[in-house]
């Protein structure tokens, strides 16, 4: 079994490498959307700093006194400028925490950020159809507009799957998550030491994270089934995919968490490298920016890798190969 997973693990890398332009397309979407929001924020920074000598200090180091001043006056988007969001490890940890406690943290995010997240989710849902079709059929994605054409074909169905998945995510966040949170708070209020609440919090967070990824994995296969079998009924696609995954749950989980573990290792190495970079000159600021973009590109690549490997695994399970089962 292990060897089989390793085969899909490697095949996934090769497939994403073969169609690397798709990773770049997703990255460009990510960067473009982020830049749209970054422009007003850059203006806010520029206006706040004006021609003050504080600018020189900021180039040299993180100026905590300036940051306090900025935070105290912040409105809207600027409220997201925290010490943590301005430091690599903080940004990563903030986002991981947001993933686990999305229901608690979403309300504190400025509406414009939430809107950007929704738009990004929709665009990615659109692109996923083309991505899966390309990985499945291994056809040149940009030739005759195949990629975008397939994106269009599957968009509505994948959107439907996203909506269904959100019902489950809602159960995780508002049901299980709230229950965990209540239990943790109850322990926090009644225990003799802070340790029980800490350990319970740790375990419940890990459980929540596991459930979120597990659900995402299940819906990944539903999306794959929809594209591979060109299934029009998304409920049927979900049911069939889950039946297949249920029968091979060990392999599915093994592959999923192997790639996620690779992503964690990659992120850690890149973050340590990024934090070691002395960002004190114009050149180093540019280098740091490039390094950050590589990290983002890498993260996107891992997401594509997940799809590519899972599609290979699903093909093996269902004994489907090129061309798609429906075309056969």
């Amino acid at each position: 079994m292990k060897i089989k997973i390793i085969r899909e693990y490697i095949e996934g890398i090769l497939t994403t490498g073969k169609f690397f332009q798709l990773v770049v397309i997703i990255f460009v979407v990510n960067l473009a959307l982020a830049l749209i929001l970054a422009v007003p924020l850059a203006n806010s920074f520029r206006n706040h700093l004006g021609s003050s000598l504080t600018s020189e200090k900021i180039v040299e180091n993180f100026d905590y006194v300036w940051w306090q001043e900025y935070r105290d006056e912040a409105q809207g988007l600027a409220k997201t400028v925290q010490v943590t969001t301005l430091t690599p490890r903080g940004a990563l940890l903030d986002n991981l925490e947001s993933l686990v406690f999305f229901n608690q943290q979403a309300s504190s995010l400025p509406p414009v950020i939430l809107l950007a997240m929704i738009i990004y989710g929709l665009v990615q849902t659109f692109l996923t159809g083309g991505l899966l079709a390309t990985y499945h059929q291994e056809r040149p994605p940009l030739k005759k507009g195949f990629f975008f054409q397939q994106s269009g074909v599957f968009f509505a169905r994948l959107l439907g799957l996203m909506a269904i998945s959100w019902v489950f995510f809602l159960v995780i966040y508002q049901g299980i998550g709230r229950l965990f949170h209540w239990f943790e708070r109850y322990l926090g209020r009644t225990a003799l030491s802070e340790r029980p609440a800490f350990y319970v919090g740790l375990v419940t967070s890990a459980l929540l994270l596991f459930l979120i990824f597990f659900l995402q994995m299940l819906f990944d296969y539903a999306r794959i089934h929809t594209v591979v079998f060109q299934e029009k009924n998304i409920l049927k696609a979900t049911w069939r995919a889950w039946k297949v995954v249920g029968a091979k749950l060990g392999q599915a989980l093994g592959l999923y968490y192997l790639i996620l573990a690779s992503l964690v290792i990659f992120t850690l190495i890149m973050t340590l490298f990024r934090e070691a970079l002395p960002e004190k000159t114009a050149l180093m600021i540019i280098v740091a920016w490039l390094l950050q973009q590589i990290l983002i590109l890498g993260t996107i690549w891992f997401r594509c890798w997940l799809y590519a490997s899972q599609i290979k695994l699903y093909q093996r399970w269902t004994e489907t190969s090129l061309p798609s089962a429906a075309e056969k």
């Binding site: 003050s52 959100w166 800490f198």
Partner: protein, 664 residues
């Protein structure tokens, strides 16, 4: 033979010096105005403290008094109509929302009688007691009572009272109460107010006020089950096992103005000695929760650092003991000060460099000076203890440990950000900025607009004021002044004027004027470097006197730039500031500006243009609410905002990608 003489000599010296040594040991530090001799029993089944106190009180003023006023602080917790709880409720603090019937606390006087002593004869005054509400006339508040005397206590005269009381320990509230088997007992006994020449100073218990009392000797016997480990104000004289499963712990301390104690069967007890430069020793007792065992050394080191620096800066710690209590989780008793005993607080994973438990340990120990030794009225001048102590704790922390790191908890783990050190200039300014125009600093504790304003003014603004003063005066003179203020007012009740008097002696009346603005005046401190204008001078043209023509041409050949620097005072507070101007040729000029006018222009004719200028370039006035408008450059770098944007961009890009895991 010679040896025998030496031995006899040693014995003789010992016999002669022993009474002197013993006398020295018992020597009090100040007049003992309010002395308490208490014998109390804790019943942990019912959470009741019962006992009696013998109060020996001396009228230390020039006025006679025909009544005595007392605090009964725990009556603030007997129902939700007390002034304390109503004020808390108005701020949205639901302190008693989950209180059951057995959770309320109180302190009831069972009898109060004058004992025969001096010119007083025995008389029962229990029926003479009247609850008083001097601050708000709230009829439900029973935190203060007075009792009429059969005859006045004259200046210098002493009266002795026997008070029997019963106190119900509340569920944890306002840093006192019981949580499971952990007791923290503070403000728990009938306590006499302070009689001053102006009359009785005995305020009700407020949500945002602390305490005020006279110095005296506390001799307290506490009886409770033997399993309990007890810590209290002062020295443990003895622990007597009673044979009925209880033990009586006897504590004694002179020259203090309060007595607090704690008991728990779970405490780990650690003792260490701290030797002062004078050779005197102070015994440190650490009462630690078992789950904080790994923090033992850090707690002890923090107390030692506090002892070391406070003794150096504010006078040698005079008491022979200090007890640091690591409070039980959920006990709500952390971060509070009492004479020779304080509570700190920590999270079991706090990493070194995160300011916990060191910061709070130093702060609460520091109150041993500004509250304990310098007995300011915390009701009426809250900044004089909280502000001074906030200043003290920051100074000690930075001197002992350097700047702390920014820390944030993720999933319960404190994560340290080694790239982000919090500079001393950042301490307090954010809180002050938000309330700079909200209140004046000198207000009675409960009269601030809000809890935020009380905190910002009493803690942050006063801390910033003192740190600015330190930078303005220079370190050496400042510390000399602080030591003088501190030691001069040990065991006294100084008011703001007393502090200003010492400032005047060391820094002059101009500095006092500045402090008066900061203490009594509303408004903010904000200076701005408004503009740098460089005009290229044209060659001299027109009609000049013959000698002036040559002068103008000479001047033009040397200095062909007309430079104008505009500085402005945007705030209401006026302080003298320096203005630094840097020119393109590398030369720098530093000017002094009184800072009194709304603006001032510095004009120069120079060979090169000005490229940078800053008002208050050394950042002396830390109270300046807008730091970035203090400087300008003609060559601003875009890399600052690009760097910040780039970092934020990464967070956003990553967040978009991570949250994509939710469904796409």
């Amino acid at each position: 033979m010679q040896q025998r003489f030496i031995s006899l000599g040693v014995i003789l010296i010992f016999l002669i010096s022993w009474p002197l040594l013993a006398q020295e040991k018992d020597k009090v530090f100040c007049p003992q105005v309010a002395n308490y001799n208490m014998d109390i029993v804790l019943n942990p089944e019912k959470n009741i403290i019962e006992g009696q106190e013998i109060l020996t009180w001396t009228n230390s003023t020039n006025q006679p008094t025909s009544e005595l006023w007392f605090h009964l602080y725990w009556n603030a917790f007997q129902n939700n109509r007390s002034t304390y709880l109503q004020e808390a409720q108005r701020e949205g603090r639901r302190l008693v929302a989950n209180f059951k019937e057995e959770d309320w606390g109180y302190c009831r006087i069972e009898s109060l009688a004058v004992l025969p002593a001096g010119n007083f004869t025995a008389v029962d005054l229990t029926n003479q007691m009247t609850f008083r509400q001097p601050d708000d006339n709230n009829p439900f508040d029973q935190t203060v009572f007075s009792v009429a005397l059969p005859r006045p206590v004259n200046p210098g005269e002493t009266i002795k009272l026997e008070i029997k009381f019963k106190a119900k320990v509340p569920r944890p509230i306002s840093r006192t109460g019981v949580w499971k088997d952990y007791y923290f007992i503070a403000q728990w006994f009938p306590k006499i107010g302070v009689f001053e020449n102006e009359g009785w100073n005995c305020h009700q218990y407020h949500a945002h006020s602390e305490y005020y009392a006279d110095y005296g000797t506390y001799d307290v016997k506490i009886t409770l089950p033997t399993a309990y480990i007890v810590g209290a104000t002062g020295e443990l004289v003895s622990s007597q096992v009673n044979g009925d499963g209880t033990t009586t712990h006897h504590f004694h301390q002179h020259s203090v103005h309060d007595f607090a104690w704690t008991a728990s069967p779970r405490f780990l007890v650690f003792k260490e000695k701290f030797r002062h430069t004078s050779g005197k020793e102070t015994e440190i007792t650490l009462l630690l929760q078992p789950y904080h065992r790994r923090l033992k050394e850090r707690y002890l080191l923090a107390v030692k650092n506090a002892l070391k620096y406070c003794s150096q800066w504010f006078g040698e710690y005079p008491y022979s003991t200090v007890t640091c209590v690591d409070p039980a989780y959920n006990s709500k008793s952390g971060g509070m000060e009492y004479p020779t005993l304080f509570t700190a607080g920590a999270y079991f994973l706090d990493p070194p460099g995160s300011q916990r438990p060191e910061g709070v340990t130093i702060h609460e120990f520091g109150h041993g000076y500004f509250y304990g030794l310098v007995g300011t009225n915390e009701f009426e001048h809250p900044w004089m203890d909280e502000g001074f102590t906030s200043f003290l704790d920051t100074e000690v922390y930075y001197a002992a440990y350097g700047p702390p790191y920014f820390t944030r908890r993720y999933f319960g783990f404190p994560v340290l950000f080694p790239q982000i050190k919090i500079p001393v200039e950042a301490e307090g300014i954010s809180r002050h900025r938000q309330t700079a125009r909200m209140d004046i600093m000198q207000r009675f504790a409960w009269q601030f607009m809000s809890g935020t304003s009380y905190g910002a003014n009493s803690y942050a603004k006063a801390e910033l004021m003192l740190r600015s003063l330190k930078r303005f005066m220079g370190e050496e003179k400042f510390w000399e002044m602080m030591k003088t203020y501190s030691t001069r007012h040990w065991f006294k009740h100084p008011r703001p004027a007393d502090f200003l008097q010492v400032v005047e002696k060391f820094a002059g009346s101009q500095t006092v004027d500045i402090l008066r603005q900061l203490i009594y005046q509303e408004g903010a401190l904000d200076y701005a470097l408004s503009s740098i204008k460089n005009h290229h001078l044209p060659p001299p043209r027109g009609l000049f006197d013959q000698d002036k023509q040559a002068l103008a041409e000479k001047q033009y050949s040397q200095n062909n730039y007309l430079v104008e620097i505009l500085v402005r005072r945007l705030g209401e507070i006026k302080v003298p500031v320096k203005v630094m101007i840097e020119f393109a040729d590398g030369t720098t000029i530093t000017e002094n500006w009184s800072g009194r006018e709304l603006w001032h222009k510095f004009v120069y004719q120079r060979p090169s243009p000005a490229v940078k200028a800053a008002v208050d370039p050394e950042f002396i006035w830390l109270l300046d609410i807008n730091r970035r408008n203090n400087s300008l450059t003609t060559r601003p770098t875009p890399w600052s905002w690009l760097k910040l944007t780039s970092r934020w961009l990464f967070w956003l890009q990553h967040s978009l990608e991570i949250l994509r895991f939710l469904g796409s």
